[in-house]
């Protein structure tokens, strides 16, 4: 499956809505996610407290970003980690590939990281002489299928069990002929185990970077991050600079929020803090450790008043609860990050010009903000991007005209009332049996639903008449 482009959003949506099973496929994941999250929050009475605390930690770190980045670098260097800085996606992915080439790597294992997707690592490796091996089960599935991820937590949610059975039979060295999930997982495990042990370089993302120790934290359920990182000689971490927190104590409330908001679990199977290369008496671990700190639009977001978005801990709750995401799915957004958080991030990672349509594909119902574990005001941020689009005139001319025209009327109430009365006459002409099935200028509405026939005169007209007869009659 080819990755969609954000600028083709309208077409992507049409294609998505035309897929007969898509809604069912999405729902089977998001419904479960919603229910599990809601149970987890119900059993977590300190949720609101943790949320406020998590937000505070993030806001504080973002406010003092320079200080904590410097502290992180100092402590990471002290651990023996080599620290790299990348201001763009291209730079970041080049740094990673250069390190791999320096070590003449043939095989690299990668544990799931959206930042890795963001900086284009998957494509960069696929266009290189090196073999890329995705070790997260879902990432493994979409690698075999050649798909882009459709969700930040469940990147293969768009693939059915039948698809997986087919893919595993085609690609695994010792495939299973069972369709049971446990057998399928075993099949993947057999295939991946040998690859873990023969990998030259392990690449991971990071859920949190701890400034006071220079360590990086990964959160997984499959243990694949540990197996990606430990056996190879070299470990490379790629992380966005917003992953920074002052210390482990500060990461804890965020961890509690992350797992519950993402999968509804109180805790994941593995939470690992990686502390640089293998030390003298360590039994295992990488001999060399790199960390690539990626900006890619983040400091610009900070400068442009979008700092609240940098709180995001990538739990995916906003998309699980988004009524638009649930109908069009992740691929339609044409970005690594779909749903509400993606519609705010993509304009900054790519450009507003290519990704402004997504900012309008939102009913402003506020559910995303309601479930966000760090209180990101997503609707407000989306609207501020719409304001930027409006100023830069990215909006189609017809939309601008309609809004302007309505605005001109709305600020002149008498004219507005006159227009309302006239539009009633117009609407009446198209009404049959109480409904309007079609009318010029309203095709956006009548394309999919009927329009209620209005009463004969406006409220204001009726009200004035009533008042007049009252004063005349008394």
């Amino acid at each position: 499956m080819q990755a969609n482009k954000p600028e083709n959003f309208t077409q992507n949506v049409t294609d998505a809505l035309a897929q007969p099973d898509l809604k069912m496929i999405i729902r089977r994941t998001t419904d479960k996610a919603e229910a599990k999250r809601s149970d987890a929050i119900a059993n977590f009475p300190e949720f609101e407290k943790a949320r406020a605390q998590g937000q505070k930690v993030k806001d504080h770190t973002i406010k003092h970003m320079e200080h904590y980045l410097a502290e992180f670098e100092k402590n990471a260097l002290a651990q023996g980690t080599i620290v790299h800085w990348a201001s763009t996606a291209e730079e970041a992915s080049k740094i990673v590939l250069d390190i791999c080439r320096e070590h003449k790597a043939k095989k690299v294992t990668r544990s799931k990281s959206m930042l890795g997707e963001e900086i284009g690592l998957t494509h960069a490796f696929d266009n290189s002489e090196m073999e890329r091996i995705e070790t997260d089960l879902a990432e493994h599935i979409i690698q075999l299928a050649g798909d882009p991820p459709s969700h930040i937590i469940w990147p293969a949610m768009h693939r059915s069990r039948e698809d997986v059975v087919k893919l595993f039979r085609e690609f695994h060295s010792d495939p299973t002929y069972s369709e049971e999930i446990t057998d399928l997982v075993r099949s993947a495990r057999r295939d991946l185990r040998t690859k873990f042990l023969t990998s030259d370089i392990g690449i991971s993302g990071s859920n949190f970077l701890l400034a006071d120790s220079g360590s990086s934290c990964t959160v997984t359920n499959e243990g694949n991050a540990e197996l990606t990182i430990t056996p190879p000689k070299v470990h490379i971490v790629t992380a966005g600079i917003e992953k920074l927190v002052p210390s482990m104590a500060h990461a804890i409330p965020l961890l509690r929020l992350l797992t519950r908001s993402a999968t509804g679990a109180d805790i994941t199977q593995y939470i690992t803090f990686h502390n640089g290369p293998k030390r003298k008496n360590d039994a295992d671990g990488p001999e060399e450790c790199h960390i690539v700190l990626v900006d890619n639009g983040r400091t610009k977001m900070l400068a442009e008043g979008m700092e609240e978005m940098l709180r995001c801990i990538r739990c995916g709750a906003c998309m699980n609860h988004c009524v638009v995401y649930k109908h069009i799915g992740g691929h339609a957004y044409g970005s690594v990050y779909p749903g509400p958080m993606g519609s705010v991030l993509t304009p900054h990672l790519q450009s507003l010009e290519v990704a402004n349509k997504q900012t309008h594909a939102c009913t402003m119902n506020g559910r995303c903000e309601d479930v966000c574990p760090v209180n990101i005001p997503l609707p407000k941020l989306l609207r501020s991007l719409r304001a930027q689009s409006w100023e830069k005139k990215y909006e189609p001319l017809t939309n601008r005209f309609v809004v302007k025209f309505f605005g001109v009327l709305a600020k002149r109430p008498q004219l507005f009332q006159l227009f309302s009365s006239c539009s009633l006459i117009f609407m009446k002409a198209f009404s049959r049996n109480g409904w309007i099935k079609y009318m010029p200028f309203t095709s956006g509405w009548t394309r999919n639903r009927d329009l209620i026939e209005p009463e004969t005169t406006t409220f204001m007209h009726q009200y004035k008449k009533m008042k007049k007869s009252e004063s005349g009659g008394s």
Binding site: C362, T363, M364, N365, R367, V403, K411, Q462, Y463
Partner: protein, 274 residues
């Protein structure tokens, strides 16, 4: 209640039980959808507010709350509209709208477009502080309990997003509806999920909106009620319009105020206005 009119006299059976309010001057902002499509919601609002002990005035120079401009990102356009809304309504003790989404616009969003105009921002805040959505105002501020309203049948309730999430409108309409004799509640699966209206969204992304409202309609039909009630005309028009397009004429969509003011049943969509 000096200026009680004939309209409310006809509804005297709904007796007044008002505890907290004495002769509060209320400015009613009817909203553009009620003004053009469904005037009876405006009259129902007046009836209920008067029953709750308020003196209701309807400023003639009113138009729109500015949401189409605001949600399209047209800040300057929003300000132009907000100036006159503030001027028209700031003198009232309370400003009431029979819509959660329009009330939330004035309550939560006006101040956002005046970030660089502290004078206007203060006036916007002053207006925001006295602005309420009708149904929650009746219960939370007026402690209003309808009495003597009757309607035979079953209803299911759609909670519109702005009212539900931004203004905490949930219990109030249910509490008032529970006093209506003969009316029984049937729960709606996904009662607080967006119906896909979203103002300009429903015409900009008509097909996504359609997918969303189709699902809402499935749930409404499954609730198996005679009436679909809610507090926002936009959502009701959207759901009712989809129901009708699908050939379902069994379910009548009504604004909660219409039921409480004893104006039901008046089918949304039927040309039965007098």
């Amino acid at each position: 209640m000096s200026d009680k009119n004939n309209y409310t006299d006809a509804n005297q059976s709904n007796t007044i039980e008002c505890l907290n309010i004495s002769e509060k001057r209320v400015g009613l902002f009817v909203t553009c959808l009620v003004n053009t499509i469904r005037p009876s919601v405006g009259f129902a609002s007046i009836t209920l507010l008067e029953q709750a002990g308020c003196t209701v005035e309807v400023p003639a120079a009113q138009s729109c709350c500015g949401q189409p401009a605001f949600n399209s990102g047209d800040d300057e356009g929003t300000r132009q509209i907000a100036y006159q809304v503030i001027e028209q309504f700031e003198e009232f003790d309370y400003v009431i709208l029979p819509s959660g989404s329009c009330a939330s616009m004035i309550k939560n969003n006006f101040i956002e477009v005046f970030k660089e105009q502290p004078g206007w921002q203060a006036r916007a805040q002053h207006l925001a502080d006295r602005t309420h959505e009708l149904l929650s105002f009746l219960v939370d501020v007026c402690n209003f309990k309808p009495n003597g309203v009757e309607l035979d049948g079953t209803f299911t309730y759609h909670d519109s997003c702005s009212g539900y999430r931004s203004l905490n409108v949930y219990e109030q309409p249910r509490e008032m509806l529970s006093t209506v004799k003969g009316l029984e509640h049937k729960p709606l699966n996904g009662h607080s999920e967006c119906c896909g209206f979203g103002g300009t969204f429903c015409v900009k992304y008509s097909d996504i909106s359609n997918a969303i409202v189709s699902e809402k309609v499935e749930n409404v039909v499954a609730a198996d009620a005679d009436y679909l009630l809610g507090g926002d005309m936009g959502c009701l028009m959207n759901i009712a319009g989809k129901l009708n397009r699908e050939g379902n004429q069994k379910i009548t969509a009504l604004h909660t105020a219409e039921v409480l003011a004893g104006l039901a049943p008046k089918i949304i969509g039927a040309n039965d206005a007098s």
